[in-house]
Amino acid sequence: MKNDLLWVEKYRPKKIADVIGNEEAKASFAEWLKSKRRIKKAVLLYGPPGVGKTALVNAASNEFDFRVIEMNASDTRTEKAINKVAGPATSFVALDKFSTESQGNLLFLDEVDGVAGKEDRGGIGAIIKIVEESRVPVIMAANDPELEKLRPLKKVCLLIRFQQVRIPLIIAMLRRICAKEHIEAEFEALERIAQNSRGDVRSAINDLQSLAGEKRVLTLQDTMVLRSRNKDISMYETLKGFFSAKSLAEAATLLSYSSVDYDDLLLSVSDNLPRRYLDPVELATAYDFVSQADVFRGKIGTENWHLLRYFYNCLAESFKPFEFIFPPIRIITLFWTKSKRVTLEGICAKIAARCHVSRETAKHSFVPFVKIFLERQESNPISSWFKLEPEEVDYLIKMNRY
């Protein structure tokens, strides 16, 4: 099936010349990479998503025979992790140079603005140290160079700015892909895709792939389903489109349009899995994907939404169309049970204060016993010792056992 490979991967540029647009940035980057004595050892490429930052690094290293050691947002970038990967990579420059044709290593830290202050503690500091000590070129890419936490990086790097790619260039690129995929496309159709992408080449290619689908001919009419990139799509629509997506590309595109809350999305997906996968083995496999996606989500935190494209790739693979339910069960359950939970939490807090334990421990090690006391003797003095209110006592007595 031709949908097996995302075209953004398939048509990834092999040479610097293949990267479209941003001529100035390309030139200064190539010059920096080729020069023998670099004034600044590191470079920070910054600009909006999908304009070719990562593509340029890969194309250039391919052209100049560098071996790319890459770390991106899917790796935890704590100080320790960075040093582990980057330390060796940045010091053994000479060996490689003599033994092979290769120019040696090149360290590429993609999406450095994703080095969250929270999980990746010490990450930025470690990067700066690596830059200072490195004997190989260090390249970083980021979307938003104004981020406060990146400021220290800006001092040690050569900054290269990327802009949105011009529409005619994108159209030309889409045409080349169409030719290779044997698709006859109307110019207006490609123009619409390109304009809609707002200079984001990656999303334009994704759109093209999902619109083309199995078709041989692409008309302007086909592109009418394209949604404006800055228009919100509701959760319901997202899920509907997601679950009826016929390919990975289509699902990925849809998700890149949507601005739904990702936790809700994940939860809904989780809710719907057993409806889609009736066989326990398939279900377990699908859940494993979602679980990993969630782990990934946990690592990214909430700061940088676009990083979730990694998660899309991982998630979308486990998906095929089926009837879905919405809203998430968990959200409904939590809504209906909130008052109960709050009461129980209050009781646990009182027990915790008395018995030097956490509320959690109070819940599992004390509540079952206290409940039995009170069931047996409602006027048990224990309730006043815990300073429980009458309604709390009542709650404990009537509560179901866990």
Binding site: R121, D263, L266, S270, P274, V357, R359, W385, Y402
Partner: protein
């Protein structure tokens, strides 16, 4: 709490007040007593071990031995799993170390007891390490945790580590009999043994079970009552949930899981802990199957700490159970 107010939960009433009263921890107590003789030499402490083995009790005893009657003034007791974030912890410790700087007698520091510190995330622990450094002159920390492996190395290296193992069954039985005697409850040795067996080395659980049993029949606790209490107080929902999952009824199992989270507000890690406990009790699984599922539980316990949504991880875990259940059904 007024000083003369008598504690009504026996776990509190019979919580040892000084190190000498502590049950079955001779080695630990001896080393700690050495610190008490010259408090200046006391380092930060890390007390690690399974629940109900006396870690918090030891910490509170140290506070009492150091500061006597006024121990509460000089001791800040925090529970990491209750405090919302490291910022709260930091602020409270900061304030505390600022205001209780005044040395007490020959004790040149105030005490911070941080319970369940392994519940803190890595970054929070890194922040804690800073706090420990900056307040080192005015504060000593006693960190309490279940697994010392979950405490980052820089903190471990700053502490004297004491490991608490499961309490000796005989010592526990004796302790229960002793409490029963003071409470004028007739407790048969068989009943005491039953409680000890059920509580798996967790003395807090054992004492709670004993006290609960004592309200069933005025003043007498026999084996039958104990069994009844154990039956009523053990986590049935979790058992049922595991059974459903292993029988392939994933949707029903997941519903129960949502209920545990929703209605009772259990945390993901607590549910996983109880699943592990209940799993080992299932008689219809072979040792190999239990080992396999234990592995699975371990993996998802880890993912829980990494992930964003505990119910997704728990659902995925239940799906794994259903898978194992299916292959078991086929091989039979």
């Amino acid at each position: 709490m007024a000083l003369d107010e008598e504690a009504l939960m026996w776990v509190e009433k019979y919580r040892p007040k000084n190190l000498g009263e502590i049950v079955d921890l001779r080695d630990i107590v001896e080393s700690l007593k050495a610190f008490m003789r010259n408090p200046k030499t006391m380092p930060h402490l890390l007390l690690a071990g399974i629940p109900g083995t006396g870690k918090t009790t030891v910490a509170l005893c140290i506070a009492r031995e150091l500061f006597g009657q006024n121990w509460k003034t000089f001791t800040l007791e925090l529970n990491a799993s209750d405090e919302r974030g490291i910022d709260t912890v930091r602020d409270r410790i900061k304030d505390f170390s600022r205001y209780s700087r005044a040395a007490f007698g020959n004790v040149p520091f105030a005490l911070v007891i941080l319970d369940e510190s392994d519940q803190m995330t890595g970054p929070a622990q890194t922040a804690l390490r800073r706090i420990m450094e900056t307040s080192a002159r005015t504060c000593r920390f006693i960190l309490i945790c279940n697994q010392s492996g979950k405490i980052i190395e820089p903190i471990q290296s700053r502490c004297a580590i004491f490991r608490f193992s499961k309490l000796d069954k005989k010592a526990m039985t004796e302790h229960l009999l002793c409490i029963a005697k003071k409470e004028k409850v007739i407790l048969s040795v068989e009943a005491a043994d039953r409680i000890v067996e059920y509580s798996e080395g967790d003395l807090r659980h054992a004492i709670n079970a004993l006290q609960t049993a004592s309200v069933y029949r005025e003043g007498v606790v026999d084996e039958k009552t104990v069994l009844q209490v154990i039956g009523e107080a053990s986590p049935k929902q979790v058992q049922l949930m595991i059974n459903k999952a292993l029988n392939g009824d994933f949707i029903e199992a997941r519903k129960m899981m949502y209920d545990l989270i929703g209605t009772y507000g259990f945390s993901g890690s607590e549910i996983v802990r109880q699943m592990q406990r209940e799993l080992l009790k299932l008689s219809y699984l072979s040792a190999e199957e239990k080992a396999e599922l234990t592995n699975v539980i371990g993996e998802y316990d880890f993912r829980l700490t990494q992930g964003a949504n505990s119910d997704i991880q728990l659902s995925a875990l239940l799906a794994q159970f259903a898978k194992v259940g299916k292959s078991k059904g086929e091989s039979n």
